[in-house]
């Protein structure tokens, strides 16, 4: 049987329900174990779709925007789960579930018509690690940005605690680590495919800007650890840059017809 986007909803809805239940149990006393198990179960159901889809596409589902959103909605609950297991914030699973649901619904309501073709430049062992590492990074940085935005908007009523800054630091550090790895994998791959490791292609230019944005955060936190609000602004700004890198370049007039990173145009 070939799995297509038409079947996505039958995997996605059960996953969302499982994640929502997991998020619900996180608020209960002694709900920790069921919460973790339910979230993992949801992830397994979701991954079953990715695996089957991969199988029937006969190529990794990483090429189009819709396909990268698929991974994004997979990694968000993972990031949430890791954070929950380690730091025990009860609200983090609610948060990751809502975010993942948004991306799932974008894919259900606007599935791009996909086909199996993958141009020769993308047929490389670097392809999967490059995109998967980036998507995981985006999930972490996205989580960091939303927590930051929340405290920037409602921070007056609620005092920002050191604990929250630690959480955001962790999101950004892990996100930046993966962002760097994704970028460097990209450079190594580019050398094999296009002859040079860095060509200032529009997507590369914005990836560099995004990376530098988060460098500013790391250095600023190191230098002025108590200036919370400024640091939170940098996180939100970094995420704006990331949005341009991820899909904004597809619409930028300055990048039209130049980017070798545009693959979804049929």
């Amino acid at each position: 049987m070939t799995i297509t986007w038409e079947h996505f909803i039958y995997f996605a809805i059960p996953s969302i329900i499982l994640w929502a239940l997991g998020a619900f149990f996180a608020y209960k006393k002694s709900g920790r174990v069921p919460s973790i198990l339910l979230t993992i179960l949801g992830l397994l159901v979701f991954f079953a779709f990715i695996a089957a889809f991969w199988q029937s596409l006969e190529r990794p589902p990483l090429r189009t925007m819709g396909e990268t959103r698929l991974w994004y909605s997979f990694f968000l609950p993972i990031a949430g789960l890791i954070t929950y297991i380690r730091w025990r914030y009860p609200w983090i699973l609610t948060f990751s579930t809502i975010l993942a649901t948004v991306f799932i619904f974008v894919n259900i309501l606007k599935p791009e018509i996909h086909n199996k073709t993958l141009m020769p430049a993308l047929q490389s062992p670097w392809f999967a690690p490059h995109v998967i590492v980036y998507m995981f990074s985006y999930a972490m940085l996205g989580a960091g940005a939303l927590v930051s935005l929340y405290f920037l908007l409602f921070g007056r009523k609620q005092k920002i605690e050191t604990k929250i800054m630690d959480l955001i630091d962790n999101f950004i550090y892990v996100g930046l680590a993966f962002l760097t790895i994704g970028m460097l994998f990209g450079a190594l791959w580019a050398k094999e495919a296009w002859g040079h490791y860095w060509s200032w292609d529009p997507k590369e230019t914005w990836a560099a800007a995004t990376w530098m944005g988060y460098l500013v955060y790391v250095h600023y936190r190191n230098h002025k650890p108590l200036r919370y609000k400024n640091a939170l602004c940098v996180v939100v700004f970094g995420f704006l840059l990331l949005q341009i890198t991820w899909f904004g370049v597809n619409y930028l007039p300055s990048a039209q017809g130049l980017s070798i990173h545009t693959y979804s145009a049929e």
Binding site: T117, P120, D169, V174, L176, W200, H223, L258
Partner: protein, 414 residues
């Protein structure tokens, strides 16, 4: 301001100063040409640069103003100013203009800041150099009093420093050439970006050129505009096997026959396709389309340089067509002859370059009009002697990233 201790304000003013200096240089001299900085000049420059940086480190021990350049305020202001330039670069369409005969072309009355060629602009160069200085000084300072807890810092900073320095110094030594080869004819001449012919110590003889294609795809187009429909997300049917059924717009489509190697034969009243397993063949499928009571059937073919394409007209508005089949893989079988060395017989394909005598040979293109029957293959030859140093930097940064990931976790435990 300018009183000890320096803070952010001084950093910002320094960056603005560099910006203005860069602008003046841009107006008077024109864009930067790094092409002069070839071996051994670049190596000498690199060594002198590193010596100066180390000297500045020793000076910074006694001079608090120089010391400032290895501090967070300097780092942050220089990253931010470079970030601003990169963002401007992202919003400005970049032009690829090569300097003519190594001379920058500066037109009189050309008062722009050079942002349309950011990496050749003086402003970018000065702020980049400033950034590299700060990165270098901070790295030396930390390495001079190295403890194991600085390992991640060292990997990230030294790695970035090495990769950037080697990348910039090596850029003039990098050669990128295009070589067009014809089936059965050894070729040792290649052309540079600005059209100059270069003779190489290696020769490539094209033995074979093959394209593996994806199965054909069917689309419905508007007869009037030729656009694939529906406009934003055209439907398509991939003919992976025959018979296959599918839907395009509201037509039921059935493909009953697929000839991967076909030729068109004109009969008295129609055109039909027959097997034609030889050079110049195209692909054709037999399509039956049904909508309500209307039934249309006939051959559909992508066509090529020998045979015209053929569509199946559904009605006044729509037709079924087969766009050119997408290449899955293209590969060149080659003999590579090396001066004073052994000949190599191999295959070069996209993502699988051949490395020989310090050159990497990439499959770049072919005669697209001839498609799979192309008897020429175009290669790109790249020589980048500084690449190992860039890779050293990249690998250090990869290790540093793993370190950053681990540091993130450890921070919580304290």
């Amino acid at each position: 301001m300018w009183k000890y201790p320096w803070k952010y304000a001084e950093g910002i003013v320094i960056c603005i100063g560099l910006f203005v200096t860069g602008a003046v240089l841009q107006f008077t001299i024109g864009p930067i040409v790094l092409e002069y900085l070839k071996y051994p000049l670049n190596l000498i420059f690199g060594i002198i640069y590193c010596v100066i940086l180390v000297a500045f480190y020793f000076l910074s021990k006694h001079n608090k103003y120089i010391f400032w350049f290895s501090k967070s305020e300097a780092a942050i202001t220089s990253i931010v100013s470079l970030l601003i330039l990169v963002i401007i670069m992202g919003f400005t369409r970049q032009e690829v203009i090569m300097p003519i005969d190594g001379h920058p072309h500066k037109n009189i009355g050309d008062w722009n800041l050079g942002f349309h060629q950011m990496t050749r602009s003086w402003i970018f160069a000065l702020l980049f150099l400033y950034f590299l200085n700060i990165l270098g000084l901070a790295t030396i300072r930390r390495l001079a009093s190295f403890k194991w807890k600085d390992f991640t810092f060292a990997m990230n900073h030294l790695g970035l420093f090495i990769a950037l320095l080697a990348g910039v110094l090596g850029s003039a030594d990098m050669q990128r050439l295009r070589m067009q080869t014809q089936l059965g004819q050894p070729e040792w001449r290649a052309t540079t970006d600005d059209g100059q012919m270069v003779e190489l110590p290696i020769a490539i003889e094209l033995q074979s050129f093959t394209i593996e294609q994806y199965p054909p795809k069917l689309l419905v187009i508007s007869n009037e505009t030729g656009e694939a429909l529906p406009k934003k997300q055209p439907h398509n049917l991939l003919v992976e096997e025959t018979p296959i059924k599918g839907k395009l717009l509201d037509w039921e489509i059935e493909v009953t026959e697929f000839l991967p190697m076909a030729a068109s034969v004109i009969t008295q009243d129609t055109v039909k396709y027959v097997n034609f397993e030889t050079h110049g063949a195209t692909s054709a499928v037999y399509v039956k389309a049904k909508k309500d009571e209307q039934v249309k059937e006939g051959w559909v073919s992508a066509g090529n340089h020998m045979f015209p394409h053929r569509a199946l007209t559904l009605n006044d508005e729509f037709s079924v067509v087969m766009p050119e089949r997408e290449p899955k893989k293209y590969a060149s079988g080659v003999n590579v002859y090396v001066k004073d060395g052994e000949d190599i017989q191999t295959t070069i394909e996209v993502n699988k370059p051949l490395e020989v005598e310090g050159w990497k040979i990439y499959q770049l293109s072919y005669d697209e009009v001839m498609g799979r029957w192309s008897n020429i293959s175009i290669f790109e030859l790249v020589r980048d002697p500084w690449l190992p140093y860039v890779y050293l930097g990249i690998i250090m940064m990869l290790i540093g990233s793993v370190g950053l990931f681990l540091v993130a976790k450890r921070k919580d435990n304290k």
